[in-house]
């Protein structure tokens, strides 16, 4: 990947991926700032990582099992108290299927 490909960003495309609506001013500001950040990140492209394994966690633990037994659930009021919109103990969401 060449340098110009890794230090610019299509802000409309990426903000849509991130599901964040930006104002025109924010887009303008972020385009410049994130361009600078990506330019700074160029340092990474020069590192020799041939044959190096990636680190996802400093001290990974594998196969952490838990007993498959029922536990005390939260009561319905606890679960629903933060919902922005609810009816009959159910969260109301916008329509997601076509007519």
């Amino acid at each position: 990947m060449n340098e110009s490909e890794t230090n610019s960003m299509d802000i409309d495309y990426v903000s849509n991926l991130a599901r964040i609506e930006l104002t025109v001013d924010e887009k303008e500001k972020f385009r410049g700032q994130l361009g600078d950040v990506l330019k700074y990140f160029q340092k990474l492209q020069k590192v020799d990582v041939e044959g190096v394994e990636p680190t996802a966690h400093a001290f990974p633990r594998y196969n952490v099992w838990d007993e498959d037994s029922p536990k005390e659930p939260y009561n319905i009021d606890q679960v629903m108290m933060n919902a922005p919109q609810s009816r009959n103990n159910q969260i109301v969401v916008p329509k997601v299927v076509e007519d």
Binding site: Q33, F41, V49, P94
Partner: protein
Amino acid sequence: MSSIEIVDNTVSQLSLLLSEKKLSSFEITQAFIDQTNRVDDRVHAFLHLDEKNFLKQAEESDERRKNGKTKGKLDGIPIALKDVISVEGQPLTAASKILENYISPYDATVTRKLKDAGVIIGGRLNLDEFAMGSSTENSAFGPTHNPWNLDCVPGGSSGGSSAAVAAREVPISLGSDTGGSIRQPASLCGVVGMKPTYGMVSRFGLAAFASSLDQIGPFGKTVKDVSLLLEIISGHDPLDSTSFPREVPAYGSLIEDKLEPSVIGLPKEFFGEGMDQEVRDSVDKVIDFYREQGHKIIEVSLPTTELSIPVYYMIATAEASSNLARYDGIRYTSRSKYSENAIDVYAKSRGEGFGEEVKRRCILGAYGLSSGYYDAFYLRAQKTRTLIREDFNRVFDEVDTILTPTSPTPAFKFGEKSDDPISMYLSDIYTISTNLAGLPAISVPCGFTKNRLPIGMQLIGKAFHESELLSIAHAYDREHNFGCESPQLV
């Protein structure tokens, strides 16, 4: 003892006064509330303080003591938590508008442990929104001010946690550290702050920022107080699958043991350009102290240091963009009133609810994870993270502890770095690599600038060697006690 005198005490002193029945938990808690009411309109460390509930817990502690049922050394000692740690029935905003009305339905594991130890939990402390920042300027509810100079930032992201201890509003607090968010504000506010080894303290109930880097940790005026608090909050938790099954040593008493001579490493890459001269001079005095105490000081090299910032900001933003996907306006966050369909609900609720830095980081993270860029950014950063860990492993074959400044400069002024992300990111240059390597590290106050701004030094230890790290930090701290000096706020 007047309330102004009470708040100057360390936890160890307060605990003694409680056990000798010279003070009650109610009197202590009331004194800290009084102090908060005196100074917090200027400091703004607190986002929320439920005084009635705070005092009720204190009364319960006094009742336990009267009946000989005290739960431990810290029973009756007040604490406040960074507003990302869940306390059942209390607000948790993460300093974000999107969680403005959120109430925690359950306790974080650290909260439960504090309650089990009888610690009095009152109040929510300010931070950079979702712990993203180094100055607390990114709080949706206004910044916290540095108690040593109100025109300066307290550091961040746990700026409320460090400022509250410095301003004597609480004797101890909890914060979280993803890239320096406990140690840098501790340094800038002149208090002790520690990030434990990754996996030592459960993250269950902590609002996640970057899950492979986040750790909860303690603040206090002294290393001793921090050790006592760490002892309570550490330990394996089945609710956090990254938590490590290890015994928790009695840090609070172990640190008093006689210290054997050890080897301390000074990474040459940390002592280069960009370090303030007064910071350098203070840290030089710390080096002299340890040398005089019989420790061997050697220069070491961590050549990957300059890569730690890009690696960190790639990994942390990628994890954040994924973690923060849960704030979508559907189940428990504020929902935009202007949305027409489901995608719109997500995009508009997040656009309205997130502040600038959170948006910037989620977008950067989404970019690094996106098709076509994943290998060049995220995967490459993870591979470079391996090289950073290997650097530390190599150095720790030779030394027991690494000594560095905590921050290249003392506290800076508001607005100085807020429009320049890279310069803000660089203020974490000395703290970030330890999170990438998962190591424990502590910031200890080591002096003041001529303008009376605090300076901190950082000690980094081997993984899961908290006892040794705290012991060597305590050896310095008990002789100097810079964290016990009070700013002139009253």
